[in-house]
Symmetry: C2
Subunit: 271 residues, 2 copies
């Protein structure tokens, strides 16, 4: 711990030195109010004041943007999922002109064509081109649970979702399928934050399957840091069986990283 070292009590020698006039060399931080010496100097007063102004400005900008988000946010026709009233919408659908239906539950999720089309180019093409979905006013979504579908629709209205690891996967799949980039980034960020050695191989394969580039890179990087343990994992053996080309990608990336590191070392040691 070398931080705050300049605040250790002065030794006897230093104290006498301080008395001899070196005391003026100590300055007081306007932020933490403690004294510090030249080697621990941060900013001058003027730069400090400018930085404070910048911070105030940034905070004001955040408040403005939050108010904008609040204004632009829609009430979703059904609102977020409420497990006590799962089958009965709390809010009456308002001017909705389309419903979405999940494969596991016949209860329709009402929505507005305009909202779906504005958030997803896939829905837009589907609805504008008078395909079956547009004419019938019903969009069937396969391979998705009612809960996930409802969270998905709610996100399209509010840019908000309550994620756990399972829901993040479900929503990422939907976001990829319907090209809702903002939601995809949101799920990827969440999954990257939950990444660990235990789930890295599954996450890697999942990211590959659903074109989640950031998650793919993060999982691959974690795997490459643990190459010695890799081949012992059950998921590794399964992946070799199921998708050997993907395993080859790991080895190729690992090798390329090794070559780069060696080249870098080589060039930095040369005169």
């Amino acid at each position: 711990m070398m931080r705050r070292q300049f605040r250790r009590p002065l030794s006897e020698d230093e104290e006498s030195e301080a008395e001899n006039g070196a005391q003026e060399a100590m300055m007081k931080c306007v932020s933490c109010k403690e004294e510090y010496a030249a080697s621990d100097a941060g900013t001058c007063r003027e730069c400090y004041e400018e930085a404070s102004e910048t911070e105030e400005e940034l905070k004001r900008e955040i408040e403005d943007l939050k108010a904008k988000v609040h204004f632009l946010r829609f009430w979703a026709p059904l609102g977020p999922l409420d497990h006590h009233h799962q089958q009965r919408p709390a809010v009456a659908p308002c001017f909705t002109d389309v419903v979405l239906v999940a494969s596991d539950n016949p209860v329709p999720v009402p929505a507005h064509k305009a909202v779906l089309a504005s958030r997803s180019p896939v829905f837009r093409a589907m609805l504008e081109n008078e395909m079956e979905e547009s004419l019938s006013g019903t969009i069937k979504i396969s391979d998705v649970s009612y809960d996930a579908l409802r969270s998905f629709v709610n996100y399209l209205y509010t840019a908000e979702a309550c994620l756990d690891e399972h829901m993040a996967c479900d929503l990422l799949v939907l976001a990829d399928k319907y090209q809702v980039k903002h939601l995809k980034t949101y799920c990827e960020k969440y999954m990257i934050s939950k990444l660990n050695w235990e789930n890295s191989l599954l996450s890697f394969a999942f990211a590959n399957q659903h074109n989640a580039k950031s998650l793919f890179d993060a999982a691959q990087s974690l795997i490459m840091d643990n190459m010695d343990k890799l081949s012992k994992r059950e998921e590794y053996k399964e992946l070799v069986e199921k998708d050997p080309r993907l395993v080859v990608e790991i080895y190729e990336a690992y090798l390329s990283k090794q070559v780069n590191t060696a080249a870098h070392k080589d060039s930095s040691t040369k005169p």
Copy 2:
């Protein structure tokens, strides 16, 4: 100009002083790289680093919020007003279910009931209660130009408007009438930024008429700073004629401020 004074060239006396060891008392600002003495000390290094991290975090939050705004923003059915094609919408209306019509121009402005109802409680009541407007699918807006109506509708979709002083007034009137708080705040901020002695009385009366509290206060405060010139203004005479009670409000506020200032002075001079 007292800023940066600590960077003036050193006098001869000071230079010899510096050579005698006082040099150590100078520190280097990590931000502007200039030297400064104890009296101009800002922060220590640790506080400087913490502040930089905070700034980075705030900037990241701003990026996230901007992406959210972008995602939640709708393409308005007509888009912002394009003066070259004023009469012909550039974008085909998508799934719109209602039109708005201004008093000065029969060209309808298409919109979605769901969007209008979500942004304005007045539209919501109008449309949900199956009033004439809901049944006919046409909402007539009186005392408004086509340009202002279109900007108004565009704001409901995008939270953006291109303001000048005239448009700010028009939109504030609409925002007040249809209770679109976010737009009202936006117009008020703009008008406050354009406030000056010349337009203060008109702004004051306008703010009073349309319940614009911030603008009202700002205009009143500006008027009170110029009481000596007040009664000579033409607008003053007109206001006394038209709305004497409002003029009384100015005098009451002025008197109350004088009494407060006197009381404050009084208490601070007492032992």
